[in-house]
Symmetry: C2
Subunit: 400 residues, 2 copies
Amino acid sequence: MQYKKNFYQIKSNDEIFERIIKEKETIGYYNLPFSDTTEIKEYAKTVKQKDIVVIGIGGNSLGTFAIHDFLMHKENSKKLHFLESTDPIDIQRRVKKIDLDHALFIIISKSGTTIETISILKYISSLVTLDSQNTVCVTENDSKLNAYAQANSMKTFEIPKDVGGRFSVFSPVGLLPLAILGLDIDKLLNGCKLVHDSFFAQGEHYSNIMEKARFIVENKNRYNINVVFSYSSLLEGFNKWYVQLWGESLGKINKNGTKQSFTPIGITGPVDQHSFLQLIMEGKRDKTVTFVKIADFKDELTIPDITIPALEELDYVNNIKFKDLINMQADSTIEAIHNLKDIPYDVITIQHQDEENIAKLMFTYELITSIVGSFVQINTYDQPGVEAGKIILKKKLASK
Amino acid sequence: MQYKKNFYQIKSNDEIFERIIKEKETIGYYNLPFSDTTEIKEYAKTVKQKDIVVIGIGGNSLGTFAIHDFLMHKENSKKLHFLESTDPIDIQRRVKKIDLDHALFIIISKSGTTIETISILKYISSLVTLDSQNTVCVTENDSKLNAYAQANSMKTFEIPKDVGGRFSVFSPVGLLPLAILGLDIDKLLNGCKLVHDSFFAQGEHYSNIMEKARFIVENKNRYNINVVFSYSSLLEGFNKWYVQLWGESLGKINKNGTKQSFTPIGITGPVDQHSFLQLIMEGKRDKTVTFVKIADFKDELTIPDITIPALEELDYVNNIKFKDLINMQADSTIEAIHNLKDIPYDVITIQHQDEENIAKLMFTYELITSIVGSFVQINTYDQPGVEAGKIILKKKLASK
């Protein structure tokens, strides 16, 4: 009797933990919380420009956008702009809002061969002279973009080779623009550290993250959609970052040639109660739902005690703080889903709207992504599926 | 012998067409293209305010947002604002950008009992006196909001009772703010009419829409995710509108008690080539993909003929127009997906970035939604699943 196999077993939590510890030696993002931020902070202090323009796409902008979106009430007077799409009307709309002669340009690309980034760089170069005074590059040490920076005596910050784009927000990719905007990047890293230490000491974060990842993996064919339902408009950027992290990391063919099935969706409450919620409640049970709540918005805005003639019916909202209303809306939706009994959900509550809390949330999601990837035996950190389109594009452009 | 059954047959196209013709008698959106827009246009001319503030949520804002997003390069000098979330920090960020003393407020709610809308209305009322000069209401004829408007001699525009929120963009809900912003609303309706007439005369649009809806329905359990991949940043608003239309209309329990499984996702190219595309290419085959392209952006922005030292490798983009680059990116992605042979996709090309074209796209999607709903025998136009959460919220608020 012979026996041949082409399938894998879902490993035990201990085995996965061992793999992650081994992975930590070659995958750089795990260690970003322990980076030295001195150089970034020193440089940030010298920036006089008001308009800060990030030229970078995908992982080079989404993380910064997420944290900026969440914390921009804390920033100084600088204004952050992103240039990433090749849509001509979008580019011009955005450029119109920038004072080009008094802007700082942050060019971000690991390689310096990202077609969107370099096309926009060329366009901007035709409008304003880029030099050591108004341009800084964030890139790998031996990249073409680095050579460009050197040739123009521009300041550079390094993206470590072992840190992939969608895991790079806590490298200079995110830290540099965020520091310039006046955010406390040490507090960001501190948030990461708290999660890192608890996870690797197999503390509270370890059990939560492991349990969640295992559930998602064991039920992946039944629940092939993973919804994040964030109850704050400020988390819309986080949602977009999550979609990239999850989709691009886990959308892979695994060791056994099986295409994986984790599809991320990010929605926002209460607005999407008027959109996607109906589908969660009465659609097919193919979704897990993770609620993200902010425990205390630290904001006292209150619905005034006004009776509006003809609209008295809603006087029961009078004197309620908006922060309590939105959290009651979240709790009511959670309760309604709980009552259905057949939708798997969890609730992540972050304490405040500050650097530490957003970093904890994001670093936690990075770890969950790594662990799900490890469970299903894929390479979480590459993106081979996007190469085919790039090759076709190059041919099209060459033949033009 | 006895025979009992609890299942349905997918009807023939002819039967569905007959149902839709019958539905047209009671579902108002089909006939919106033929509305008289005189009153809206007359009113719009009288608006002197620069800041136009829509207070409304879900279907009361998403369609306007989508068209605004797509066409705002064509608008006059007015600025459109939306207030919809109960997030206190979001509200204050948005209110800060409005010149309250010189703004026009458009309050939109079918009933006048939408909790987000009325809470924000109360808050705004505490900041500025709302009266016939600065406020207009869009609502049902016998609603509480209408009574409020009457009591304050405010101008009102009617939402017909038989037009649901997510199908209301071509009623005064969308037409009023868009006309005030200077868009040609007759051209919008004209775009709808072209699709309407072709569909009901069983012309080109009939065959395309029918075929698409039937494919989606027949394969719904295999492909439970319907991705719209729009190749223009200007279609991000359309994507959001699509997610509501599709999710809330089709996320239903059908006649036979079966939960339906159509999950909408909206992504944008080329940005999401760096995010979601990997998942489409190598993830489980659980998605249909619809590409939306703009044939001619009518914009000549060109990548300048600049050689950047160290970055010469990308000189092949020199002299390419951005509109050609983005369309070549779209075509390359389509070709890469085509080559895989096992991902169902279609491509919708809209000609220009103008009123008629966005309306054609949106009205087409409304029809597809209706037909998918008719095929699977659900009520496409209600949203019973969101009631449970509202009832819980009311109880929580009452006990406070």
